[in-house]
């Protein structure tokens, strides 16, 4: 997993609430057995027209946002299916940070496993960031994970919360499984205890 430290990039406004993972990556892209190459399917049903051509009205098709690295979106981003193809598609497109007022649990977890930082902000801060994002390529945001700050184009600064453990893993690009495997003795001990307590399992 790539580290996430400081990201400076164009932020795209996606002014829709309840963006679900079916929207982020439609099911026809889930037949793959790989994690890579899903960027082409990102937001496919909004991004492409029925004949397969690009829909020029969709935000990520506009010249200013084609290289966006940050997404600013409405409430409850990532609801629905657990498909990790959603963060894989975002990452493959080049998006490393999503900002919203709230995220669905599974999507939120999935982001951290893939070097993507999901940031929860207040509705007032989201309005400000949405305003910034509407300015297109002229307005870039800087997301500083170490300092837990989002710095805007006009010198404005918004702070955010993140779990210390998740922050540590993201800053250092750490593999969860490796960390947990170091706790094998504790898992062994738990299994012994559980076997005695619940022998039917």
């Amino acid at each position: 997993m790539d580290k996430f430290t400081v990201l400076t990039g164009v932020a795209a406004p996606l002014e829709i609430v309840n963006v679900d993972t079916d929207m982020i990556i439609p099911k026809n892209y889930l037949k793959t057995i790989k994690r890579t190459g899903l960027g082409k399917g990102l937001f496919a049903e909004m991004r492409y027209r029925e004949d397969g051509s690009e829909n020029p009205d969709f935000v990520l098709n506009k010249p200013a946002y084609r290289k966006a690295q940050i997404l600013v979106a409405g409430d409850n981003f990532g609801c629905g299916s657990s498909r990790e193809h959603a963060p894989w598609a975002l990452l493959d497109f080049g998006i490393r940070c999503v900002i919203s007022t709230s995220f669905a649990d599974i999507f939120y977890n999935n982001c951290f496993k893939n070097g993507i930082l999901p940031i929860k902000v207040s509705p007032e801060d989201l309005d400000k960031l949405m305003d910034d994002a509407r300015r297109g390529a002229n307005a870039t945001l800087t997301v500083d994970l170490e300092r837990q700050e989002i710095r805007g184009p006009d010198g404005g600064c918004i702070t955010f919360d993140v779990d210390p453990f998740r922050k540590h893993c993201l800053l250092n690009g750490l593999d969860d499984i490796g960390l947990t495997m170091e706790k094998a003795p504790a898992i062994d001990a738990y299994e012994e205890k559980a076997k005695a307590a619940h022998p039917w399992l």
């Binding site: 002014e15 929207m23 037949k31 409405g74 947990t180």
Partner: protein, 467 residues
């Protein structure tokens, strides 16, 4: 000792390790695996030279991507075939029990787990699928995970988690005739909103929940995720035990008795703290139909499509207008004036035997409307066999329904079962998202009874007065 909720008890019982910031390592008792969200996880193990830590606690089955037509001659779609073959190969290589597409035990992973007695009270259950919350009906802590977490569980039999908050949804009273578990859960989601349960585990309680069969409780718990909750659960009782007794993977003999003694302790203590409480009266619930593209967009069958202009928040108002445009509906349209093109009966929400019995009772001796294409997809091979043993398939076929092989089918439309653009469907599944059942397809979520009545009438009708 401090009074604890059911969730608190199961959580406490599974903590392997706690870090100073409250992040825990939680032990996982049961892991269900399917073909769509597992290939990258097994590949990760292979690349890192890791094994599956507890293959006997893992069960694999194909469901999302399999065709629901005759599968005895193989799968036509090459990508689907590859994904199915990959699961078979991974199960063999890593020593995991696997039900293939021709096995009578095959079916939707959340139908199969309970059917086999793999799902048990007091356990932690995960699967790379958000509807894993279904298993909470047995008093288990069950939730969906992503593929990286699937790999983590395969390698370590644990999950890194922070504890969620407790929410209790109490449904008092008795359901009126024609109103079902599906209407209860749609009403709850309408009440709390699609993000109302975010960060919470819901315990469903009250007279109306107790009165539900295990299958009804599964329907309610199944859609917890549609209200944003991490999991939903119902405390186990005699119905739970009666359902599980003698299932293939349930404990037997003295082990069963010992298990039941433990399961009897899985109740929320008097005075335990809930971060939030919701109450509903079942007696007031009507049959419900969704009108929009979020499961929170619910309305009584006797109602009309709402006007988004009544919403104060601008982004929410625009989102609901967008939903109406997508659905091809206008505010004020009576729900019973909406005609349909398709009916889908099935899914992990409503693809079990009791659902099919309800449908059979409504459609027996009648015919599917000439303008409607209606399909029934049993939740598992065993559900299909049971339905056929009861002669339900004959009733369905005589009425003009398409009776198919088990799988997820048009709930998510990964296989060939899907809506054409602008087709309108009465569906017993769980999601009405844009494109969910097919590009530009329009989904209305309803109970099996309402779907059956709609199939006959060609439009939504109030099943309470349908005969």
């Amino acid at each position: 000792m401090k009074a604890r909720t059911l969730y608190d008890k199961i959580w406490d019982d599974h903590v392997v390790d706690t870090q100073p910031d409250g992040t825990c390592l939680l032990y996982i008792d049961r892991h269900l695996v399917h073909e769509v969200t597992s290939p990258q996880a097994f590949e990760g193990l292979r690349v890192a030279g890791r094994r599956v830590r507890a293959p006997e606690k893992t069960l694999a089955v194909v469901d999302h991507n399999v065709p629901t037509t005759d599968r005895s001659k193989g799968i036509d779609d090459p990508e689907s075939a590859t994904q199915v073959a990959t699961l078979a190969e991974n199960a063999r290589e890593f020593g995991v029990e696997y039900y293939n597409e021709l096995d009578s035990r095959q079916g939707i992973v959340h139908v199969v787990g309970p059917e086999q007695g793999f799902t048990l009270p007091g356990t932690t259950i995960v699967c790379g699928d958000s509807h894993t919350s279904t298993h909470g009906a047995f008093g288990a802590l069950a939730h969906g995970i992503g593929t990286s977490e699937v790999e983590h569980v395969l390698a370590t039999q644990t999950l890194i988690q922070k504890k969620a908050k407790n929410m209790r949804v109490t449904v008092d009273g008795a359901l009126p005739e024609g109103v079902t578990a599906k209407d209860i859960v749609l009403a709850i989601i309408g009440e709390i909103g699609t993000a109302g349960g975010t960060g919470h585990v819901i315990e469903y309680a009250g007279e109306a929940i107790r009165a539900l069969s295990m299958e009804g409780r599964m329907t309610v718990c199944n859609m917890s995720i549609e209200g944003g909750a991490r999991a939903g659960m119902v405390a186990p009782d005699e119905k739970t035990y009666a359902y599980l007794k003698d299932r293939p993977k349930a404990p037997k003999g003295a082990a069963w008795d010992e298990a039941v003694r433990f399961w009897d302790t899985l109740r929320t203590d008097e005075g335990a703290f809930f971060d939030s409480e919701i109450r509903l009266d079942a007696a007031n619930l009507p049959p419900i139909v969704t009108w929009g593209t979020s499961p929170e967009d619910v309305i009584s069958v006797t109602g009309a499509v709402p006007n988004p202009d009544d919403i104060a928040d601008e982004v929410k108002r625009q989102s609901k207008w967008r939903a109406l445009e997508y659905m091809g509906l206008k505010p004020g349209t009576k729900i019973t004036d909406i005609t349909i093109d398709r009916v889908f009966i099935g899914s992990c929400t409503n693809g079990r035997i009791e659902d099919l019995r309800v449908v059979a009772k409504i459609v027996a001796g009648k015919s599917v409307n000439a303008n409607v294409n209606a399909m029934i997809v049993p939740g598992s091979g065993l559900v299909k066999l049971q339905a056929e043993a009861e002669g339900l398939d004959k009733i369905f076929r005589a009425a003009g329904f398409d009776w198919r092989e088990p799988g997820c089918s048009m709930c998510l439309a990964m296989n060939a079962d899907r809506l054409a653009p602008h087709e309108r469907c009465a569906s017993t599944s769980n999601r009405n998202f844009e494109g969910r059942q097919g590009f530009k397809g329009r989904t209305h979520l309803v109970s099996p009874a309402m779907a059956a009545a709609a199939a006959i009438a060609g439009r939504f009708v109030d099943v309470r007065s349908f005969g």
